[in-house]
């Protein structure tokens, strides 16, 4: 149990910024539903953490990593579309998670449980968030090029398989650190909605990326603040706030 709200908020800034950044690649690749579906793969891992009394985030990361390895392998070895593999994996893991997890924890995993996390977890997810940001920025050129022009990037000798794996890994880590804030069901509020909003408002790439990160931070910190003062779930508040910002962006676009 953690009482220090400013610590939560600080960690929220890092996690949201990482989500906003990774979200831009999902928008570029039109893979927006992938992250949503992939997040459920973390459930059995979180459940194992709850049952066997270790950090649920570690279980979540382990399962997400296993999930992306599986998706990546199947995508490379067969001709199945990545979306359909994820679809099968997601319902299966959701069912397993729901089967083995106690009901209270299940709800927390679905909608977020930031007030019930430990200081260790807060620190861990902040470090992971910063790592995600650093790595994503380091590889931003090849990640963007493979996303928008696969032929050109192949001609530049950029490995599509490696970039695909890097992106999946970044998504997995981002999901795993976002779950404690907004839960498995609402993770796209951090990954997809800010990036979609930013795209509506941007005419160049730099603005798109920076704005997406800022919007994710505003949504999450706003959501956390609302939930701190009123009895509203932080995940729910974050989703509604980010959806509201997205709606406003639609007017600007026209």
């Amino acid at each position: 149990m953690i009482e220090n709200f400013s610590l939560i908020l600080l960690s929220g800034v890092a996690v949201a910024a990482a989500s906003g950044l990774v979200g831009t690649f999902l928008i570029l690749r039109k893979m927006t539903l992938l992250s949503d579906a992939l997040s459920h793969v973390a459930l059995p891992g979180i459940a194992l953490g709850v049952i066997f009394n270790f950090q649920p985030i570690v279980g979540g990361i382990a399962f997400l990593f296993f999930g992306i390895l599986l998706i990546w392998q199947i995508e490379n070895k067969t001709k199945l579309a990545i979306e359909s593999i994820t679809g099968v994996l997601f319902v299966t893991t959701l069912a397993i998670g729901a089967l083995i997890m106690p009901e209270t924890e299940l709800l927390e995993a679905f909608f977020g449980h930031i007030k019930n996390t430990t200081v260790f977890q807060i620190v861990l997810q902040t470090i992971i968030a910063l790592l995600v940001i650093v790595i994503a920025l380091k590889y931003i050129k090849p990640l963007v090029l493979t996303s928008i022009a696969p032929d050109l990037s192949a001609a530049e000798k950029i490995s599509h398989t490696k970039m695909q794996f890097l992106l999946l890994a970044l998504i997995a880590f981002t999901i795993s650190i976002g779950i404690s804030f907004v839960g498995v069901l609402l993770i796209s509020a951090l990954l997809i909605v800010p990036a979609a909003t930013a795209r509506n408002l941007s005419s160049n790439f730099k603005t798109f990326v920076v704005l997406s990160m800022i919007l994710a931070v505003v949504s999450l910190c706003g959501g956390l603040t609302v939930s701190y003062f009123w009895n509203i779930d932080p995940g729910v508040a974050t989703v509604l706030l980010s959806a509201f910002l997205f709606t406003l962006s639609l007017f600007k676009k026209q």
């Binding site: 570029l28 928008i148 050109l152 001609a155 530049e156 795209r199 005419s203 790439f205 798109f208």
Partner: protein, 232 residues
């Protein structure tokens, strides 16, 4: 022009998924030469280009580039998402290891600098094609491999692209391999032509290599219309 070939291809065969796409292709290209590759849809033209730049592994045969040859490749399909928030300048900055400034290549392809801050999604297909040329030229290539788009380019745009290619060849002394569907282009710009229909049907100077028999074999009767229509 030296006699040392820039590229030598010997007995190149490519099999993909059990199907023979290229069968025993041999040709060479010297510095500053223009080679046109023609053939019907599905004849292996795009696969040939991709094999030359190393995207596809040859099943058999040898591809030999002269040492330190920098290759510029313009793929056939390059469509930009209408909602991609990226300026032309930002796009060109994605290129690795640039050897020329963006404004220098922009001048070479005849685009105005104001276009650099335009959104790449708002360009006309002709402008986008020129941006792609600029992309290829940033690395100072000794040869350009141009896979002509089959769609989305209007006739006027196409004409200006070939004028540009000709201009680039004159000013930068680069070689070209053009995959084309237009015989007019072949007669007007190419020193040599390679006719492809999985096998190599002809290879040589356009006026001698492209006999009526070869054209009929490549395109059926339809080709004669093109031939006479353009070659006035």
């Amino acid at each position: 022009m030296t006699d040392e070939p820039l590229l030598k291809v010997n007995d190149l065969t490519v099999v993909l998924d059990g199907e023979k796409i290229l069968d025993d292709i041999s040709f060479e290209i010297k510095k500053e030469e223009v080679l046109a590759v023609i053939g019907p849809n599905g004849s292996g033209k795009t696969v040939l280009l991709k094999t030359l730049i190393g995207l596809i592994k040859p099943t058999k045969g040898i591809i030999e580039w002269a040492p330190n040859t920098e290759i510029g490749y313009l793929p056939q399909r390059f469509q930009v998402d209408r909602y991609l928030p990226m300026t032309v300048k930002e796009f060109l900055r994605l290129k690795f290891d640039p050897k020329k400034s963006i404004s220098a290549v922009f001048r070479e392809v005849g685009l105005k600098n104001e276009l650099l801050d335009e959104s790449i999604a708002h360009l006309s297909s002709g402008q986008l094609q020129k941006v792609l040329f600029a992309w290829a030229l940033i690395n100072k290539p000794g040869i350009l491999l141009f896979d002509e788009p089959t769609e989305n380019i209007d006739v006027v745009g196409q004409e200006s692209i070939y004028k540009l290619l000709h201009h680039l060849q004159d000013t930068l002394n680069i070689s070209l391999i053009i995959v084309s569907h237009d015989l007019h282009v072949v007669y007007r710009y190419a020193n040599r032509v390679l006719c492809l229909n999985k096998k190599m049907l002809c290879y040589g100077e356009p006026h001698t290599a492209l006999t009526d028999k070869i054209l009929a074999e490549l395109y059926g009767d339809h080709a004669f219309f093109h031939h006479h229509h353009y070659d006035k």
